[in-house]
């Protein structure tokens, strides 16, 4: 994965490595000073030639393109600036050209109106409303974004984990059924032991896999960036980012983000994450195991997958839309109690501060439901693993509960 990331990164840096030479034919002389040659972009300023000659020249020299600013008054020139090139130019390049020209032209226009640029610079104001709760906890809108990020990441991680490893459990149950080893195994262990063992084993394998990805990713990322770091920071995109970062306004923001991070209910978040993660995962994975036991092959799983996937997807959408809108609104609150959606929705709500009793109540409902689903799944599982042949209907599944 990391190797792939770096490969893509490398490819795009190679893509950007080519030094672009741009011919600029500025008949007005407005912007000639704006375009200064950098490592990756060489601006050749032409003068005293007509457009056709410039075009031929640019083409002969294999230039990336030709920027033409016709002789016009400053009020109207903006609509007649043209960029000629062999291939269609990259979007980011065009927009960076546009913003440079726009800035310059506005400055010139202001100057023409007799406005003192220094005065404008000095008179600029930045407003940032500081938020503080009645208890005196400071927050900000950046903080809200950040909470959303944390909650969203936690909820989404759970969602992905359930989908990926739930499917894995289902497939391994089907494999045991189709390879007919199941009867040998359950003459040694109880079906419920086998099912829970499978769920726990798969989830531990999943967590290990995640951990290895993260650790390995971090290590390789660190190693790679210390080796290739210098080269990578010099791509044109990086230049733009660096420009933005050197802006004093954004360093303030970074400082604020760090502060916000410290003010998050980290302990609550981590504990709730672990508990809801385990509860939600067990709830869904036992259903996946039951589905695997009920069918003979993967193509038959479709009709049973839908009722499992719908609440899960609903949870993510509720999380993504209503929680952003109002983390403590009716819908968000209700969905954070319904056991099939509560793990995802509650995880998204918690960074915004959910009363402890709500968290505990939701967790208790989740645990009760998960005990019920494990019981239910174990029943289906116990009967299903020994049933071959036709695909069962919901009615038959219900009957199995009584066997």
């Amino acid at each position: 994965m990391v190797a792939l990331m770096f490969f893509v990164g490398y490819l795009s840096s190679v893509n950007n490595d080519t030094v672009r030479s741009i011919y600029v034919l500025d008949d007005t002389g407005f912007v000639s000073e704006t375009f200064k040659t950098t490592d990756y972009t060489i601006y050749n300023h032409l003068s005293e030639v007509d457009l056709e000659t410039a075009k031929i020249l640019a083409n002969q020299e294999n230039a990336y393109g030709l920027l033409h600013i016709p002789k016009m008054p400053i009020e109207t020139v903006s609509n007649f600036i043209k960029f000629y090139s062999e291939e269609s130019p990259s979007l980011s390049f065009i927009s960076s050209l546009e913003s440079k020209i726009e800035n310059k032209l506005s400055e010139l226009k202001l100057q023409n109106e007799g406005v003192d640029l220094a005065l404008i610079e000095a008179s600029k104001m930045y407003v940032d409303i500081n938020q503080e709760s009645f208890e005196g906890v400071k927050t900000s809108k950046v903080g809200s974004l950040m909470k959303l990020g944390f909650g969203g990441a936690a909820g989404y991680l759970l969602f992905m984990f359930i989908i990926i490893y739930g499917n894995m459990i289902m497939r391994s149950v089907i494999e045991e059924k189709t390879s007919r080893i199941i009867e040998v195994i359950i003459s040694s262990v109880k079906p419920i032991q086998l099912m829970l063992g499978k769920i726990i084993g798969t989830s531990l394998a999943g967590i290990t896999q995640f951990a290895i990805w993260i650790v390995l990713g971090a290590v390789i990322m660190f190693a790679a960036s210390s080796i290739f770091g210098i080269e990578m920071s010099q791509t044109p995109q990086q230049e733009m980012v660096n420009e933005a970062l050197s802006n004093p306004e954004s360093t303030d923001k970074i400082q604020m983000i760090i502060n916000e991070f410290h003010s998050l209910p980290i302990a609550n978040l981590v504990i709730a994450f672990v508990l809801f993660f385990i509860g939600g995962y067990l709830l869904y994975s036992s259903l996946y195991a039951a589905i695997g036991a009920a069918v003979d092959n993967e193509t038959d799983t479709q009709q049973f997958m839908l009722p499992v996937l719908v609440p899960l997807i609903l949870a993510v959408y509720v999380g993504a839309f209503t929680v952003i809108e109002d983390p403590h609104g009716t819908i968000s609150t209700v969905f954070s109690f319904i056991p099939f959606t509560s793990p995802v929705v509650m995880l998204m709500r918690i960074p915004f501060g959910v009363p402890l009793w709500q968290q505990i109540a939701s967790l208790l409902i989740l645990i009760a439901t998960f005990i019920f689903t494990v019981w239910f799944a174990a029943k289906i599982y116990r009967v299903g693993i020994l049933m071959y042949g036709k695909k069962p209907t919901y009615k038959e599944l219900f009957k199995w509960l009584k066997y």
Partner: protein
């Protein structure tokens, strides 16, 4: 002696007697129950099982004597597999109980049972050795013990070089051998084979048959579910016949055969006038044509004597009529019994 002392002495003796009697009594009781149970390794008592509306087993009681090979017979769908699954605690009976070695069946008994199901398979992408070790450990063997025994069995069946192969590389018969090894590896008291010979070529089927007999001789008890009657004839000493969820016949195979024999004899007679001879015999006995191989062009008949009449009477009569080349009592084989019993039930 003082009377007081005498009283005490008498009392003591009385006490001793009572104790002795009690001991003896309890000894008799325990030894009785023990011998009663000990003769059967496995018993099911009135076991019934429903799947929804469908009754899979209807009050089935069987007794499997120790060190026997017990044939569990019946047509497809009769309930054999359900009964076997109940013995393996894969499904639970609705009513009735199962005893292993005198104890009601409990979870820990699984380690005394080795089960080779009819629907059997292995993890396809796993290596043979790893998989055998895993399955053996599930039955409670330690890693080192499992490895030691596996090595012994793999050498014995000459499959040692398969250890690192994946199961999907093996043929069906090869995989069956591994399943057999895994079934018997933990030296279970009770071995249950459901159609063990399906999928084996004749050579390997014989090999497995010999292994089963050897395991029996070493002290194991074998339950053997099949509808291949020739293997029943060869192997089983006890049978139970299950038909439409009910046990309809059980006991020692030889006893059952004795019950089912019709006092009939197969004869081959050398005569110049076969037609006349046949008519003469038909006049006295119930006769049906027979078919067996012989070197001569003889009259081949099945003669039924009915309840009275002995073989000597028949033989005496026949020798007076013609030259007897062939004389054999007709003993019903397992297949005949199987078919006859089920047809009787139907009609």
């Amino acid at each position: 002696m003082q009377p007081k002392k005498l009283v005490i002495l008498t009392f003591q003796n009385l006490l001793r007697l009572v104790l002795l009697f009690q001991c003896n009594f309890s000894y008799i009781v325990t030894s009785y129950t023990k011998t009663y149970y000990m003769s059967n390794l496995l018993e099911t008592k009135e076991v019934s099982k429903y799947f929804g509306e469908f009754q899979a087993l209807d009050a089935v009681s069987i007794q499997v004597p120790k060190h026997s090979i017990f044939g569990l017979l019946g047509p497809n769908g009769a309930g054999k597999t359900t009964l076997i699954r109940i013995i393996n605690q894969i499904t639970m009976p609705d009513t009735g109980s199962v005893f292993l070695d005198g104890e009601p069946l409990q979870r820990h008994h699984v380690q005394y049972i080795g089960y080779l199901p009819e629907e059997r398979g292995l993890y396809k992408s796993m290596k043979v050795g790893e998989q055998a070790l895993y399955l053996a450990q599930l039955k409670g063997l330690s890693y080192s013990e499992a490895k030691k025994r596996l090595k012994y069995w793999f050498d014995k069946l000459e499959i040692g070089h398969w250890w690192d192969k994946k199961v999907e590389e093996l043929s069906k018969g090869m995989a069956q051998k591994i399943q057999f090894v895994v079934t018997v590896l933990h030296q279970p008291k009770l071995l249950i084979f459901d159609e063990p010979f399906s999928g084996f070529d004749p050579i390997n089927a014989n090999l497995i048959k010999d292994e089963i007999l050897q395991l029996r001789d070493e002290g194991a008890t074998v339950i053997f579910s099949t509808h291949r009657m020739e293997s029943v004839e060869e192997l089983c000493d006890h049978i139970a016949l299950i038909h439409e969820s009910k046990k309809i016949l059980d006991g020692k195979l030889n006893d059952i055969k004795r019950d089912y024999k019709t006092n009939s004899f197969e004869v081959g007679l050398l005569s110049d006038n076969k037609r006349a001879l046949k008519q003469t015999i038909e006049a006295k006995f119930k006769v049906a044509p027979a078919d067996f191989k012989s070197l001569h062009d003889d009259l081949k008949l099945n003669i039924s004597l009915g309840s009275d009449g002995t073989s000597n009477d028949l033989l005496g009569f026949l020798t007076s009529q013609a030259q007897v080349l062939h004389f054999k009592e007709l003993i019903p084989n397992a297949s005949d019994i199987f078919i006859e019993t089920i047809q009787n039930i139907k009609s």
